[in-house]
Symmetry: C2
Subunit: 207 residues, 2 copies
């Protein structure tokens, strides 16, 4: 089967970052070899599922020998296209935007915050993390110039759709939305949401 032609289900793609995160922490622990069983225990995903998921992309381990951690890390990074560093824009320099701008967890994971925008005159020019907040009215232009493809929206829910439209127009192809509202984006733009209340409500059902 030609892997170039094959469409991998998004649910499988969604598990690769978890595998990568676990492998990277094993690497940081100085480990060299792991197994689908060990990954399964760390991740709460079955070893069979992990082997099946990885086999969609190639053959990365040997029966009985396991996976070489550094090698499998590199391969998954290539698959997820995070064997490079993507510049990102943050739109909305409130509490969440600032926390994301200062977030250390992007390092070595393929991302770098490159610019922060807000439309509040009191915030424009202020420093958030290492960034000077820029005027949102120049956002589209700055993003287009820099060729930025990834943005995070951390504006109030009422402005989020408008910002998403502008980002899509400016060439952004992946949006991580922190505003507590669903957004409509063109079919060629990927969208993910982070809304802690949604995550929490999914758990209270079971309490």
């Amino acid at each position: 089967m030609d892997t170039e032609e094959k469409t991998i289900p998004d649910i499988i793609v969604g598990r690769l970052p978890l595998y990568l995160r676990a492998l990277q922490s094993m690497k940081n622990e100085g480990r060299q070899i792991t197994s689908s069983q060990e990954l399964a225990e760390r991740l709460g995903i079955s070893a069979a599922q992990i082997r099946k998921d990885l086999s969609q992309f190639g053959e990365f381990g040997k029966q009985g020998t396991g996976y070489t951690i550094v090698y499998l890390c590199k391969e998954i990074q290539k698959i997820l296209k995070v064997d490079r560093v993507w510049d990102m824009a943050i739109v909305g320099a409130g509490d969440i935007g600032e926390a994301v701008a200062r977030y250390q967890g992007f390092t070595n994971r393929g991302f770098r915050v490159a610019m922060v925008f807000d439309n509040d005159p009191e915030k424009i020019g202020q420093k958030k993390g290492e960034f000077i907040v820029q005027d949102a009215s120049q956002m589209a232009e700055k993003i287009r110039e820099a060729g930025i493809r990834i943005a995070m929206i951390s504006v109030p829910a009422s402005n989020a759709q408008e910002v998403a439209d502008e980002l899509a127009d400016a060439g952004v192809k992946a949006i991580l939305n922190y505003a507590p509202v669903s957004l409509n984006v063109p079919p060629d733009v990927r969208l993910q949401h982070i809304d802690p209340a949604v995550h929490l409500q999914r758990m209270t059902y079971y309490l």
Copy 2:
């Protein structure tokens, strides 16, 4: 079929908070009636899927008349057990913990931050949002006394498992984990993760 006996797939439970969020914003817009078609457009989920999901829990609308927004909001709140306000603890008063402590998005969604803990002597006693940061060494006791069932972990990855163990021992049954690491919890504890790099890597695959 007895709905008391029926186990609803978690994927359906996971969509209810999205329906509720959309219905609540319609309510805030002063709207009274909606349809599965309108919800579908807002959410990017098919109308048939929405009708099927809701039908798992009862009959909430009439063919041709649609759904009464206030009524459906209340019913979904009951199903998700957010027709009450849950007190939550935040563990880790760094940037993320502080942003969550100050987050306005929990209001009217069933949650209230009640306490914030950290183990850093420089942070203990400081104000984060409306909260005085408390000493993490007293966390288990305080959580048990207050009967808190929900907690958010926003400590470094290296401490997150230890904190999760302590929370589970203290009676917490739902954990929202912001630390970029998978956690093991007892089977009666629910766990959800927020890791922006994981969300982003899931999108870069397609770029």
